[in-house]
Amino acid sequence: MTLSRNRWLGAVALIALIVLSACSSSANTTAPDSTPGSINVSGSSTVEPISTGVAERYKLANSGFNYKITGPGTGDGFKVFCTGETDISDASRKIKDEEAATCAAAGIEYTELKIAIDGMTVMTSPENSAVTCLSFPDLYALTGPESTGFDNWTDASALAASLGSNTVFPNADLSITGPGEESGTYDSYVELVITPIASKMDPPQESFSRPDYVASGNDNAIITGVAGSPTSLGWVGFAFAQENQDKIKELALAKEPNGTCIVPTEATISDGTYPLSRSLYIYVNNAKAAENPAVTDYVDYYLAEGTISTVLETVPYVNLAADQLAETRATWEAAKP
């Protein structure tokens, strides 16, 4: 059995050699966690294209600058932001209290910067002359969790009336097309329209839309779906609806039952009067900004005159009003190292 023991010894020596060489080779390529000249951004997939667009433009003039930008979602972004893994967190909503508490517990201080606005358009077919304006309770009655199975607009009348709406629905087929559950546009719609009413219902309803609508991840397919039926209903990102005004009819919206109807335009979205819109933010880790000039320079460039507006030419969101952008800049000037 000496032969066998030798073989074992040889095998062990070989394994040790492999492990050692692997260790030493990876030790040689050591890089610090936060490389100077490079930034690590994560968070909302809605904001990701803006942050990426800004980084791509900044990189053109600063070849030494490097970035890594991912978009797993606002909540996931804050999780890694509050462990100090990322320098900047993209968010399509404000940080939640429990997320802020996690950050505070980890000793992470941050600056919240509002950078743009995302609006959604509720739309129907141009042939549908009976509907021009809907209130949030109407939308809840038509698309909320209790509307499952409604295939005629009038099916929703009783529910809308019970929520205080006087809107008269047409006696016509109701076919709904909207973004799928994986989409940020779906989340915002549910968050803005359905959740506030669902939580006040007795008994409280779950914050979901009805499941029986045609869901698509392709904005063009949503437009086609809404245009394809004369009494359709659907919603899509504001910019997309603007580009397709010949195919669909944009509906005005009111937040309260029988409230003032607001038509979605860049002006009404950017001044905040249009109810179906949300602000987009970036959260900057103050300590990272202090120790890594690339973070500060990147945010400086982000908020510089013309950067966001140029990026938004290819990314479908709405610019902040001038005074709001000025406010964001003032916040950053005060916070930056």
Binding site: S26, E48, E56, N66, K68, N218, V311
Partner: protein
């Protein structure tokens, strides 16, 4: 002799009524139908991707292959994915192949039919069937953490991705190599020993060369599996988004990385028809690379295959 032939004769008559083998024809027809069905699905899948993705190549040509990830679908390309996939393949080949082939050699030539060997064999076979996500979690818990401690950036690098993929395909490499080694006729072994060869000489000069085509085929197929693997890479931190590459090999090994299947996954989530077309184009690139690897396996096998 009488009874069995009578049974056979009656069976004969029942299937060959009027001289036509109806059941046989039906069976062959069903088999053909099954083949056509799977072919049709494949054609529809590949065809729809080609139809959607081809315009991207027609419009941008080689630019799609040489561009980095970008927020604008018109500029976005898969260069970083191709480099990432290639590096992952290198890591997998360097790690999984030697270990896998050596394990197979040990199990087939040295271990004998002991309870331990049987236990290991069963486990290897089970490991080959473990869902890849599980390997992803293992990679995240072990390799990413380990490499981060060793100072390889945040640990979410090509090395941890490659290590995890290597562990994922290791059972496949072991099983296919073991089959290939087992297929070498015993006569060859006995002849080798009969000529006074030591075990090592027999393995090196007779068994390994004879098993090489089978081992090569298995390993290349394992590589194709690694090329197409998505879930694992997402878990161990392939970038779903975009990042800048600063060129040097060191940055490639310690910095952020992505791979073709991760790009496909990321782009498929993005809204808008332009990114859908880019997704299809990326799928075509991935398919082309996988087919190339498989074709290589076939060529290698045909070239070195021996008949016994």
């Amino acid at each position: 002799m009488n009874a069995p032939s009578a049974v056979l004769g009656s069976r004969d008559r029942s299937v060959r009524r009027d001289g036509i083998d109806i059941r046989g024809l039906l069976f062959a027809g069903f088999l053909l139908l099954a083949l056509l069905f799977s072919l049709a699905i494949l054609t529809v899948l590949v065809g729809s991707q080609v139809v959607q993705g081809f315009p991207v190549f027609a419009e941008r040509g080689i630019d799609f292959l040489t561009s980095d990830l970008a927020s604008n679908p018109a500029n976005a390309g898969v260069a970083q994915g191709i480099v990432g996939t290639a590096l992952l393949v290198v890591v997998v080949a360097v790690l999984a192949f030697p270990v896998g082939i050596m394990t197979a050699l040990y199990l087939e030539e040295y271990a004998g039919d002991t309870a331990l060997a049987r236990f290991i064999n069963i486990n290897v076979r089970n490991l080959a069937g473990v869902p890849s996500v599980v390997y992803g979690i293992l990679g995240l818990a072990v390799f990413v953490t380990l490499l981060a401690v060793l100072g390889d950036g945040d640990g979410k690098t090509i090395l941890s991705g490659g290590l995890t993929l290597a562990v994922l395909v290791l059972p496949l490499v072991i099983i296919t190599s073991a089959e290939a080694i087992r297929a070498v006729p015993d006569a060859l072994r006995e002849a080798g020993f009969g000529l006074g060869g030591s075990r090592w000489q027999v393995i090196r000069q007779l068994i390994l060369p004879a098993a090489a085509p089978g081992i090569l085929t298995g390993t290349v197929l394992a590589l194709s599996r690694a090329i197409g693997e998505t879930a694992v890479l997402i878990l161990v931190g392939a970038v779903l988004g975009s990042f800048s590459t600063n060129g040097s090999l060191g940055a490639l090994l310690t910095g952020p990385y992505t791979a073709l299947p991760a790009i496909v996954f990321d782009w498929a989530r993005k809204p808008g028809p332009a990114f859908q077309a880019d997704t299809s184009a990326a799928i075509i690139v991935l398919l082309a690379i996988t087919i190339l690897a498989n074709a290589m396996a076939v060529v290698l096998r045909n070239r070195y295959e021996r008949k016994w």
